[in-house]
């Protein structure tokens, strides 16, 4: 059941990422806790990267404020995650899904960095909303139920609470920028 959930979750993610093909040899059902931790850490860093891009391009105070919040909050989550991994004496494991997310992020950063003014702000806001929705869905339905270590699970739950707030904030930003 656990493997099936992961398979379904990753399949949903793969479908939503139509621009990047998943290698046929990768088996999403084999992702373990440490690989999921790596996915979460990678997803955090990707959002920090988007935020730095926004600070470099956007002149909109609300967008800049949101970007600063993303940096502060995601860095705080990463700090806690690294501290926990250190305590547990384990290392997150790189995997195809982390690589997959990074590859898509590269493409998105290239695309967004060509935009300026309101077009950039709208694209950044829309991406933030879609990205948080996607990652939150995965965390809620697949990652959290399947994590076995209690402390890691608690950290994911606390992270989800933060990212849900971000999703709501992003939704308001999208609305205001229309």
């Amino acid at each position: 059941m656990m493997k099936l959930n992961r398979l379904v979750a990753v399949a949903v993610l793969a479908l939503s990422l139509s621009s990047v093909a998943v290698h046929a040899a990768d088996n999403p059902a084999d992702l373990n806790d440490l690989q999921l931790a790596h996915v979460a850490y990678t997803a955090d860093n990707i959002d920090i990267r988007y935020a730095h891009l926004a600070l470099a391009i956007s002149k909109n105070p609300a967008v800049r404020e949101f970007a600063n919040t993303m940096i502060r909050d995601h860095e705080a989550v990463n700090e806690q995650a690294l501290a926990l991994l250190k305590k547990l004496k384990v290392q997150p494991q790189d995997n195809f899904l982390s690589k997959f997310l990074l590859k898509r992020a590269d493409k998105l950063v290239d695309e967004m960095s060509k935009l300026r003014g309101k077009k950039f702000d709208q694209r950044y806001a829309a991406n933030e909303l879609a990205y948080h929705k996607e990652v939150n869905g995965l965390m809620r339905k697949s990652f959290i139920p399947n994590i076995e270590n209690g402390e890691v699970k608690a950290l994911f739950k606390a992270g989800l609470k933060i990212f849900e707030v971000h999703e709501g904030h992003a939704a308001m930003m999208v609305k205001k920028l229309k």
């Binding site: 919040t69 502060r72 705080a76 989550v77 606390a158 609470k161 707030v165 709501g168 904030h169």
Partner: protein, 118 residues
């Protein structure tokens, strides 16, 4: 000679009484200045409404992973950035702005209510 001793005794007793009264007043003043704790948890200030008196101390403790602030609506006072587990105190003063929020997550709002009954 006896009268002088009596007068000295009365003076000393009076001084002791004055000292005791002063000590009582001071300890009462200290007792009335309470310390309140506001915990920041799951993106909420708990309690969201707090009744305080002038001179009280309010201590905000952040229990969340995300950093937060408690910042006056008019920005006249601020706890600065509180990371997880960090705390900062503010003393309630005359004319203090009573509505506050988190600078990083502006939907997080709370208020202080001034008790002037004493």
């Amino acid at each position: 000679m006896t009268g002088w001793i009596v007068r000295r005794h009365v003076r000393q007793t009076a001084l002791r009484l004055v000292a005791m009264v002063l000590a009582w007043i001071m300890s009462s003043a200290q007792l009335s200045a309470a310390e309140h704790i506001v915990e920041i948890e799951k993106f909420k200030f708990v309690p969201e409404q707090l009744t305080v008196r002038l001179g009280d101390t309010i201590k905000w403790i952040n229990r969340d992973i995300a950093p937060h602030t408690a910042t006056a609506r008019d920005r006249t006072w601020d706890t600065k950035r509180l990371k997880k587990g960090e705390a900062m105190s503010v003393v309630v003063s005359e004319g203090m702005q009573m509505d506050y929020f988190c600078l990083y997550h502006p939907h997080m709002k709370a208020k202080l209510v001034l008790d002037t009954s004493r």
